[in-house]
């Protein structure tokens, strides 16, 4: 079952074409990884999936992206609804300068949950979902900025989970973290896919190989190859993919 489908997606920043004719089907409850050298368009593509690219001035997008069959760029689509359904975790941990509790409760409050009991439940559930509850349950009212980098990033994952999305986009979520924090987040991702669909951009090919079910290789705005991860890393069908994963460039 595919949760997101893109058809001939093209994107321009002004006169620069950043994405060229991307056709992709992202399967539900799997981890899909995007790999490729810097500037290949993988992050840009990720951000079209929750329309965060709307914020960039001079962006033009053609083609379609279907989420549960609904074109998310159709005029009647409410972007806030889309972003609630398709959550995002960024490259650099970006907790709000508030308490851990308020960080997690931010999204639910925004969407109309104000009952204290409900919020408490959501906060606990989200932090458990991000494997952070036991570490922070005694200091929920303390500033989130006091957490370590890895904890901050898991808190950001918890914050994304708090609005109950069904897709989680992750833009190089471990690139700013140490190996142990990275490992924790990778373990977490395998748990997350039971309940969510995870799409991750990564610079790190080993990471893609370790955690993802499917991998897409991007180069210069094109999607060169998209296949089951195991297959892609053992017998890539495109010469460019092979060159990249064997480390001949990138």
């Amino acid at each position: 079952m595919d949760i997101i489908t893109t058809n001939n997606l093209e994107l321009w920043y002004g006169s620069f074409q950043a994405l060229k004719g991307i056709d992709m089907k992202i399967p539900e409850h799997q981890i899909t990884a995007f790999i490729g050298p810097s500037g290949c368009g993988k992050s840009t593509f990720l951000k079209t999936l929750n329309r965060m690219n709307d914020l960039v001035p001079g962006v033009k997008i053609t083609g379609e992206i279907l989420y549960h069959g609904q074109d998310i760029y159709a005029p009647e689509v409410d972007v806030t609804w889309l972003r609630k359904r398709v959550g995002m975790v960024f490259q650099k941990p970006n907790p709000f300068p508030m308490s851990i509790y308020d960080n997690i409760a931010y999204g639910p409050r925004l969407h109309g949950t104000h009952s204290k009991a409900e919020l408490n439940d959501l906060v606990e559930q989200s932090l458990r979902g991000a494997a952070l509850w036991d570490e922070v349950k005694d200091r929920l009212k303390k500033s989130a900025l006091g957490l370590s980098g890895g904890q901050q990033q898991r808190m950001c994952i918890a914050r994304a989970l708090s609005v109950q999305p069904d897709v989680l986009l992750m833009d190089e979520p471990t690139s700013a973290l140490d190996p142990i924090s990275t490992m924790k987040i990778e373990e977490l991702m395998s748990d997350l896919k039971q309940q969510y669909t995870v799409v991750i951009v990564t610079h790190n090919m080993q990471q893609a190989a370790r955690i993802s079910d499917r991998t897409a290789f991007f180069l210069l705005g094109e999607m060169v190859e998209f296949d089951e991860t195991e297959r892609m890393f053992s017998m890539p069908s495109d010469k460019r993919t092979e060159d990249y994963i064997t480390g001949r460039f990138g």
């Binding site: 972003r83 960024f90 709000f96 300068p97 999204g107 925004l110 914050r159």
Partner: protein
């Protein structure tokens, strides 16, 4: 060469020390003679009467109410202008509004006073059917406009310094732009905004010229539509002809004003220090 730098630096410090000492020394005698409580809490100021009374409560309260009123009007307008410039306005529009705000800061206070006197005071009289438009209300309006530039520019700087990652995180959770501004950007910039407000308070409480031209300068207890006297104008309107105890009492008023300003500066210092500590 180092000596020259040192001497220049000393000029500023020395001025502060000398002014402070002078204010305290010249302000205390009258207070001692009148009595601190009678001076600060006396409701009647009749400096030139046969049996003079020197109560400055009307001036203190007028300055507080006037400043409070100006803040009440000026802060929402100033903050929203800063939000507009920092987050909403297209660059071309912002580039017109921003210099206008800076220009507002550069207008001499006597010009504010003049326009207040010629335009605002009659308009207030007409709107509220008063015999005389010179009033606390007119002074509040003028002060509210005069404090706008400091609130706007300091708040805008603070809002511009909010890391875009905060705003992205909020938008990615499905917040609208407006929700993001009010729930993330403004709270994240609050110490900078507070600094702007305190600067505005300082400007309002210390302003004399513009206020003198629109407030009527009668030593009434403050009422919105009555002529009133501020701490500043109490000094400036009588100084040219005052003598004896009256003259000394004016110095005492200046000392009270001086203390207010000092307190405001200390508050500002604390806010800025705390802001530095956040990072």
């Amino acid at each position: 060469m180092n000596t020259i730098f040192f001497l220049c630096g000393m000029t500023a410090i020395l001025s502060v020390v000398v002014i402070t000492l002078y204010m305290v020394l010249s302000g205390l005698p009258a207070i001692r003679e009148i009595g601190l409580a009678d001076f600060l809490f006396g409701k009647v100021w009749k400096s030139t009467a046969k049996d003079p009374q020197f109560g400055i409560l009307p001036f203190i309260l007028t300055s507080l109410y006037g400043t409070g009123g100006a803040i009440l009007l000026g802060v929402p307008v100033g903050l929203l202008t800063a939000v507009f410039l920092s987050k909403v306005a297209p660059r071309r529009v912002a580039n017109v509004v921003r210099p206008a705000v800076e220009l507002l800061a550069g207008i001499p206070s006597v010009v504010y006073g003049l326009i207040g006197m010629i335009v605002l005071v009659p308009a207030v009289a007409k709107t509220f059917r008063l015999a005389n438009g010179t009033s606390l209300f007119a002074a509040i309006l003028v002060l509210a406009i005069m404090i706008l530039p400091s609130i706007i520019s300091v708040s805008e700087t603070a809002l511009n310094a909010v890391p875009p990652e905060y705003e992205e995180a909020s938008l990615a959770l499905g917040a609208t732009k407006i929700e993001t501004i009010f729930k993330v950007s403004i709270p994240a910039a609050r110490s900078g905004i507070a600094a702007g407000v305190v600067l505005g308070v300082g400007r309002a409480i210390g302003e004399a010229m513009a206020v003198m031209m629109v407030a009527g300068n009668v030593a009434n207890m403050p009422e919105l539509f009555k002529s009133v006297t501020f701490l500043t104008t109490a000094v400036s309107k009588e100084m040219s002809y005052a003598s004896g105890l009256q003259r000394q009492a004016l110095f005492s008023i200046a000392l009270v004003l001086f203390l207010f300003i000092m307190v405001i500066n200390v508050i500002l210092g604390c806010i800025l220090k705390k802001k530095g500590g956040d990072k």
